[in-house]
């Protein structure tokens, strides 16, 4: 192969590599619990994350005419207020393990996608659970 083609190939490979690794870093969506988020808020401001936790009982407000769902997501230690635009999924209820995709904007987490972790063997969290245990519970209750 002539050197000029080799150079062209290197340029293409370099561009591809930059695209891939630059793109991967920017589009990585972190899976967090509310405590993990609160420990390092600045890092996750305005970038897409998936927050996992439980719907805190007594905090659910759904306005069907404006299609706004508000609730508080908790992992037993930290709490985050959620605003989700759209209808709640069929299984959504208090005490349920959910994952919200979205981003933080001004102290409220704006959810764009709400996934309910459904499982037949789901247990309500006991008082005093550590975030690690809640996280495990959510991950297991797929």
């Amino acid at each position: 192969m002539k050197p000029k083609y080799l150079l062209g190939l290197l340029v293409i490979l370099g561009a591809l590599g930059y695209m891939v690794f630059g793109g991967l870093g920017r589009n990585l969506v972190y899976f967090l619990t509310p405590s993990e988020y609160l420990q390092d808020q600045a890092r996750y401001q305005n970038r897409p994350v998936r927050l996992g936790g439980l719907v805190k009982p007594g905090t659910v407000q759904y306005d069907k005419d404006r299609l706004e769902l508000r609730f508080v997501l908790t992992d037993g230690v930290a709490e985050v207020p959620i605003l989700h635009k759209g209808t709640p999924p069929g299984m959504f209820k208090e005490g349920q393990g959910v994952v919200v995709e979205g981003r933080f904007q001004g102290g409220v987490f704006q959810g764009t996608n709400l996934l309910v972790k459904h499982s037949e063997t789901y247990q309500a969290p006991k008082a005093g659970w550590t975030p690690e245990e809640v996280r495990k519970l959510i991950e297991e209750a797929k």
Partner: protein, 643 residues
Amino acid sequence: MTPALLGNLSVSLALAFSLLGLALALLAYLQGDGRFLRGARALVLPAFLAALAAFLALEWALLAHDFSLAYVARNHSTKDPLWVTLVTPWAALEGSILLWGLLQTLYTLLASRKPLDPWRASLVLAVLYGIQVFFFGVMATIASPFQTLPNPPQDGVGPNPLLQNHWMMAVHPVLMYLGFVGLSVPYAYAVAAMVARRYQTWVEETRWWTLIAWGFLTAGKVAGMWWSYEVLGWGGYWAWDPVENASFVPWLLATAFLHTALVQQTRGAFKAWNFAFVTLAFAATVLGTFLTRSGVIQSVHAFAEGPVGPAFLGFFLLATGLGLGLLSRVSREVRDTALFHPFSREGALLLGAFFFAGWALVVVLGTFYPLLVEAFAKAKVSVGAPFFNQVSAPLGAGILLLMGVGPLLPWRRPRKEVFRNLYLLLSVLALGTLLGLLRGYTLGASLAVGLFLYNAAAIYLLAREGVLARVRAGLSPWGFLANRRRVGSLVVHFAVALMGLGIAFSQTYRLESEKTLYRGEAWEVGGVRLTFQGVRALDEGRRFAVEALLGTGRFGEVRPRLHFYPQMNSPLPAPKVIYTPGNDYYFLLMDFDREKGEWASIRLIVTPLVFWMWVAGALMALGTLYILWPVGRAEEARGVSPA
């Protein structure tokens, strides 16, 4: 005789025949003795019949509601309609492996009928038998479809309701498996070619197999996209989900192989590339199954829980190692010696193959990256669809660019008259893009318009060239249609350009709106005037359905539904899709008043040009069929003559 007994017996027999066949085929090669080869060939049919018996045993168990089988208890219910019962064998892991094994024995049977020199024939059979040993070995040990339960239930839960919601689910997996398994034959021939050191003819001999595998993979992918669009209720057809990626990667690599194989068939070059691509394409089918079936996607830690994941990973490493190991051994002998200009047909084909293979690499990286992060950084992440879209857009555009000009370039080096065509095409591209921009489309969408017109013009030039050449020679211009490879590939290329246009527009312009409507209330959105007239409940036996009655004027009454399955906690949406040549209207019932039916939340998604993507999918399949049809017969005819 019970289904379990027949099934277990048949699986064991299929495994035994495959093991014996493998041993005989290896002996035939090592000893150079034709009697062993005849023995190995004779076992092809019994292995197929045993696999067929096992498959029928599973169907029998399902039809007879034999809940003593774990597979039936987990995936079947007496309430299932007949068509759902008949397709339940591929609704879960064990049955899918059985179907895969059955198709493998069928392809081995068909491939073994082709005359071939005894050395390569033994090796091809050995590889195909080896693959069968893996699948039937898995079935006989760690993933048996015929595992029995000590306390059978009275009734089961039925297959995953998502799979029952659309008839396409009966077709999509079979098409995918027909494609995956089809790649095993070129792979086996490639291994045989490298061991026997006869590097040239295998691509020509397996041309039919490569094309049929590609055709099935393409049809399977499009069918899966359609299913996702019509069933999953989010109004999209592609989410860069690991399961989608797992079947996209083999398609990309098979496409790369298809194009470099063309060069070896006509020019004798790219031997090493073909060995590499066919190995990677076949291995990717196994890797895909590993990804989707081992649970590794949910979490790295799920990997160790079942034995199926490690088994498929091991098989993947073995298949890759065998192909690439042999290639490194013979690399000196298959190196390309003839020079070619990068601006030639070969150059365009190789660059195109690099684009496809590079795309496959990027998709694999994006799919596995979360696993690496979880394993090493202990953080749980996912790679968002924007990443895949960002890297796919330039790669796809590059492929569309090459697709137009490539077939117009002559072999070896460019000729002067090519440049005239090229300037013409580039002006079409520029004008098309400008036209799009003037109409107010985004740069990406405008470029897609330009690329579509550019490809259409290139296809016109190619067809004209073919027809004119015949007229100059005093032949009927219609005879051009007899050049099936050329005509079929032009149809497929046109379909790819159309698909590109559909993808660009449906991804760029999408209107999504949701509103809660009260009975009698009208809603003007996306060019439709919706009137909510109430909800209706229907008991359909295996499920309970609620439908919203929506007056739309131009489309008449539209009834999107929610399906409530007893085995599911949450209802499944059954969207109603109205296709028009311009836009798709996708109606969804999101929520409703459970007490009085006074209100319902309705979502409408309007997406342009999706209809044309399904047309493009059908054209790709038809174009492939057009190429294949006579080649199949010609091969059969050749099969009659002694080798």
